[in-house]
Amino acid sequence: MTSVLGRTDGGRPDGDKTSPATQPRVRKRKYNRREAIAGYLFIAPWVIGFLVFTLGAMIYSLVISFSDYNLAANTATPVGFANYAQLFEDPKVGLALGNTLVYALMAVPLEIAFALFLAMLLARVGRGAGFFRTFYYLPKMTPTVATASVFLLLLNGNSGAINKGLSAIGIEGPQWLVDPAWVKPSIVLMTLWTVSGTMVIFLAALKNVPRDLYEVASLDGAGPVRQFFAITVPMISGAIFFNVIVLTIAAFQVFDQAYLLFWRDQSNASPESSLFYAVYLFQQAFRQFDFGFAAAMAWLLFMIIMLITFIQMKFGNRFVYYEGDDNR
């Protein structure tokens, strides 16, 4: 992680291009006092916000996770590791975590594949791309609540449009939102409908691939499949890597769709396979007001996301091609 961060934080305000001569690379920098003070004043809003709403909040959250928080009395009684122990005792935590993991494993690869497929289609149209991109991007503009309410009806097992369409081609559609096995695919389907953000990132990356690479490859007799794996994938590996990380983090926090379709009414009728981690966390925090336990859940989620991101970065740095970086 540090290496990637290192790439991004090199902030030289003047950049290399504008005035290379005025910025000799010396270790000792002389700071203009007035300028430094002004700089601190400019970033002060963020620093204050960080101290209160991020760092302060994280420390507060850590304290709460070791306490029994009474919302009415506003008191936090220390309980040691009891909340963390409860993470292992409460079977629903494991259930929710498993559901979320399965969902992420389904959603992320499909989103990547579908978005890349669409981007490659769009990259081939030339002038019409803008027109189609507008249509493909519309679902991304739709508020999640509206998407959920429409898909609630489209996915209706008996009379929904999706199953009607499937039966027209001789397939008997599943009871999407009722059958526990089809709950996650239903949400994946909704996510795929709004995949265009990822698609736009891929499209931008595809446009940066030098065309002559394909020319040379096809002269050498490489077919489309070979070109895809030998040129396209390595050349846009950075975008793939980025999207995988971002989509994974998002998948681990999936909330809106599951909440709207299954847990809105606080009824217990919904299949357990729809209980995602963020939903259970929300219920514990803002329905049961068990803030101590919910904070412990949040920290567990944080650790898991960090761990997965760390692994992805370790793994990703091996195959990601950075322009201008040889021998990586």
Partner: protein, 322 residues
């Protein structure tokens, strides 16, 4: 930092892979659609072209279908919502009147628009100020602090959700709009990154010249940087507007206990979904749910119609260089 960051939106989680050389959005470099690019990818055979266009149109229809279905269903009487006809057999425009009478949609829209405007202006201005601080000034610890800005993008919203709630509760602001936009006054990591990239693209000589003419540091920002950064300002604005409009979770946390009139648009739809649901005692008046869903989608379609290129650029910026 803000609650809006808990939304699992890709936008918020950038930073790691974007490099120093990221093309600055909005300054013209980012949207080069050179004809050269177009030519190379195009399929050469006629058959290839036909297949390509059929596939493209097919997917366009797939993406548009739910919208058409939604529009049609909103104009059908109760019993016909599930007939899946894209042109209603019986037209029921009275649904819109019924929704107008039964639901405080106007009040939800007003709340959501107000909050979204506050959130978007607050975050666009504050992020711009902070970004200028990081871009122009040299001060000890700047790079470490900027790395910290980027690192906060990785933080899942869930970790800060509860303490932030307690902070707002301590301030007596639960049930007001403030928790839904207040934290935006302190800037937001991705937007700071984006604005900083833009400022780095401006020639430093411009600022030095103004300094010599006696311009204050604030003047540099207010009179030079800000007017020049309108395009990236708009990107931040439209993104945050959409994020705020979409933010169900914060509304659930901070406004759900209040009166129905005080709901935001997403919270209103969640309420409507329950109100008309047969399992919750409703009669299955899904056509009303569709009317409400359609109406709260319209502002987003409108903002997209006018600001499409800002959305596309903003999204594309994330993955650039990466």
């Amino acid at each position: 930092m803000s609650v809006t960051q808990s939304s699992p939106d890709a936008i918020k989680l950038t930073g790691q892979v974007i490099g120093e050389n990221t093309v600055v959005p909005g300054n013209g470099k980012g949207r080069g659609k050179s004809p050269k690019v177009d030519r190379w990818y195009k399929p050469k055979s006629v058959l290839g072209k036909v297949v390509l266009w059929i596939t493209l149109i097919g997917f366009a229809l797939l993406f548009i279908y739910p919208f058409v279905w939604l529009l049609a269903a909103s104009l059908k009487p109760r019993g016909q919502v599930f007939d899946n006809a894209l042109i209603p057999k019986t037209w029921a425009p009275e649904n819109y009147v019924a929704v107008w009478d039964q639901l405080p949609l106007v009040s939800w829209m007003f709340n959501s628009i107000s909050i979204a405007l506050l959130a978007a202006f607050a975050v666009a201005i504050s992020s711009s100020v902070v970004a200028f601080g990081f871009a122009y000034f040299k001060f000890p610890g700047r790079n470490i602090l900027f790395a910290l800005v980027l690192a906060t993008m990785m933080l899942p919203g869930a970790v800060t959700m509860i303490p932030q709630y307690l902070i707002w509760k301590e301030l007596g602001l639960i049930g007001t709009w403030v928790p839904l936009w207040g934290a935006n006054l302190f800037g937001s990591a991705f937007y700071i990154f984006l604005q900083r990239q833009f400022f780095l693209g401006l020639p430093r000589e411009l600022f030095e010249a103004a300094r010599i003419d006696g311009c204050s540091y604030w003047g540099l920002f207010r009179r030079i940087a800000m007017p020049l950064s309108v395009p990236s300002f708009i990107i931040v604005f439209v993104f945050e507007f959409q994020a705020s409009w979409n933010n169900l979770q914060a509304s659930l946390i901070y406004l759900n206990a209040g009166s129905v009139e005080g709901f935001t648009a997403p919270l209103g739809i969640a309420y409507v979904m329950t109100k008309y649901s047969p399992t919750a005692g409703g009669q299955g008046d899904y056509q009303y749910v569709m009317v409400a869903s359609l109406i709260i989608t319209l502002p987003m379609l409108l903002i997209f119609a006018f600001g499409q290129r800002y959305f596309i650029e903003g999204v594309a910026t994330q993955g650039r260089k990466g």
